[in-house]
């Protein structure tokens, strides 16, 4: 900035413009703390981001020559059934995952915060899934869904369970949602538990004197007071669920018949191994716009006082 100030008379204007901010002199050490990280950050995050946007207007396959083709990729996206299905599938499972995780995690948090026997032990057990890699535990579940569970279904004469859910066009989403929920609950539960710690116990004392029942206790006191944590959780779980990838790789690989392809999975397979580099980059940019809108709406809707 200093060279601007020395340039013809601008020095007079500059300080005035900055008057909203302080004129305190900043130690140079602070710049050394921020600038190197900022450079790496820009290089590895914003540069690829801008490049991605640029590539989305080309017909690149990821290698070799390419031409600018304007909005053709974007137009094509809207008439691509496979892409449309991936978006629909991603949204449906993301909504299911978000609802299930938050309902169950809220229940678990309230339960794990009350007077239980072996309370800390149960907290520890319920957090185990978060420490395991999705892919690895996904393989375990794949096998459970493929062999013992259908065997159980046949033994109990439950028709929908006697075939593997993973190969069913109608039910293949169930194991994916199950795995995502099984793993995601732990983190959300802890966030809710953290929220519950912020509630003053005396509020419950007062309420119990007023003869409040269990459900009212939760809906009128607990839930409103952990509202900010609900918002955090909703945004985080939704963001994670919309990016579902590992679960699909571990369980179905997008099958049967592309029925369980999520947007992230499609971008990965089509873009890196399917020769649709530019096309899937356009898909990614579109996905970004959609996600930004969703995040914005969520924050707006659930109170923008709380940030993520």
């Amino acid at each position: 900035m200093s060279h601007v100030q020395t340039a013809q008379g601008a020095a007079v204007k500059r300080p005035k413009k900055r008057s909203a901010f302080s004129n305190r002199k900043v130690d140079r050490a602070y710049y050394w703390m921020v600038v190197p990280a900022a450079v790496i950050f820009g290089l590895f995050l914003y540069v690829p981001f801008i490049q991605g946007v640029a590539y989305s207007f080309t017909n690149s396959q990821g290698f070799g020559d390419y031409k600018w083709i304007g909005f053709k990729n974007y137009v094509a996206l809207f008439s691509d059934d496979r892409v449309g299905h991936a978006y629909l599938f991603t949204f449906l499972i993301a909504i299911a995952i978000t609802i299930l995780i938050n309902v169950i995690a809220m229940f678990l948090a309230v339960a794990l915060n009350s007077n239980l026997w072996f309370k800390n032990g149960f907290r520890a057990i319920y957090f185990i899934p978060y420490t395991l890699g999705v892919l690895v535990i996904g393989y375990v579940f794949k096998y459970i869904f493929m062999t013992p569970l259908p065997a159980l279904g046949r033994a109990l004469n439950i028709s929908w369970l006697s075939e593997s859910l993973l190969t069913s066009e109608h039910y293949a989403w169930v194991p994916i949602v199950f795995l995502a929920v099984w793993q995601g609950i732990a983190y959300s539960t802890l966030i809710y538990l953290a929220g519950l710690q912020t509630i003053d116990g005396e509020i419950y004392e007062a309420a119990s004197i007023d003869g409040v029942n269990g459900w009212q206790r939760f809906s009128k006191i607990t839930f409103p007071l952990i509202g900010p944590f609900f918002t955090i959780n909703l945004v985080l779980t939704m963001k994670n669920a919309l990016g579902t990838f590992d679960q699909v790789v571990a369980l179905t690989n997008g099958g049967p018949d592309s029925k369980t392809e999520t947007v992230t999975y499609l971008i990965y397979t089509g873009g890196l191994t399917g020769g649709e580099y530019a096309y899937q980059t356009a898909n990614a940019v579109l996905f970004f716009i959609v996600l930004a809108i969703i995040a914005f709406v969520q924050l707006k809707f659930f109170g923008n006082k709380e940030k993520i």
Binding site: S22, M33, P36, F44, L45, L116, Y143, G243
Partner: protein, 292 residues
Amino acid sequence: MSAATTLTNGAEPAGSEKIKKSRSHRINWWLTAVIAVLSLTILIPLYFTIITALKTPADAGTFGLPGTWEWHNFADAWNKVNYPKAALNSALITVAAVVLTLLTNTFVAYAVARNMDKRFFRFMYYFFIAAMFVPFPVIMLPIAKQFGSWHLDNQIGLVLLYMVLGLGTNLFIATGFIRSIPVSLEEAARIDGAGTWRIFWKIIFPLMGPINATIAILTALWAWNDFLLPLIILTDQSNQTIPLAQYVFSSQFATNYPMAFASYLMAMAPILIVYVFAQKWVISGVMRGAVK
């Protein structure tokens, strides 16, 4: 915020303490039973993983204990996945990612938190935070391509990427924490002639211990278990991390389930063992991360 409320919680008037004690010591056995039954949804899959790893292929798929305990499954898997190599690789990447994340993160958070009245640092704050909203799929393909041409399609590139992708969220948690550290501490040191770097290392960094522990735990869990980033970044097979090794392994040897399960179990074991010993820390760390 939360600290304040817990403090007032602790300092209650002595009168209500008696009533409270009697109530808080009554264990809710019904709820305990429900929670215990529900915890089976976590324990049964783990039990299944362990016993399957110890069976013969013909015996796999049942929930009963193994007829004969086939310990050699572990040895077979150990050799087939090249486990020591993958584990070492994962460990190095995890440690490097944690160290680099903590360093850059504390620097940036401190500098930004203390200079928010300056336009430059304010801009920097939003520059880092805004990246939280960039979903990874958008940059996935360009990064895969770019890292290849920069010769960063290896562990170094991966570590840098963990640092970059985590920085936004971590910064968000850490700046809030630093603002709660009184500036008067630094002013006193400054009067005694300490420079900014000295103040940072002697005062701020030690005080950031709890929040750094949180960030370290979250980063370590992420880097150890991550599958997508190693998949797109690491091109050389010999650089495989544990999840990646399982991926390659299960597409090649998927028919021998006990051996596969032994391999999965070995992939989970290191983090599970660490967790068993450090679970109190991990849980409180993640909770603190949530309260920002």
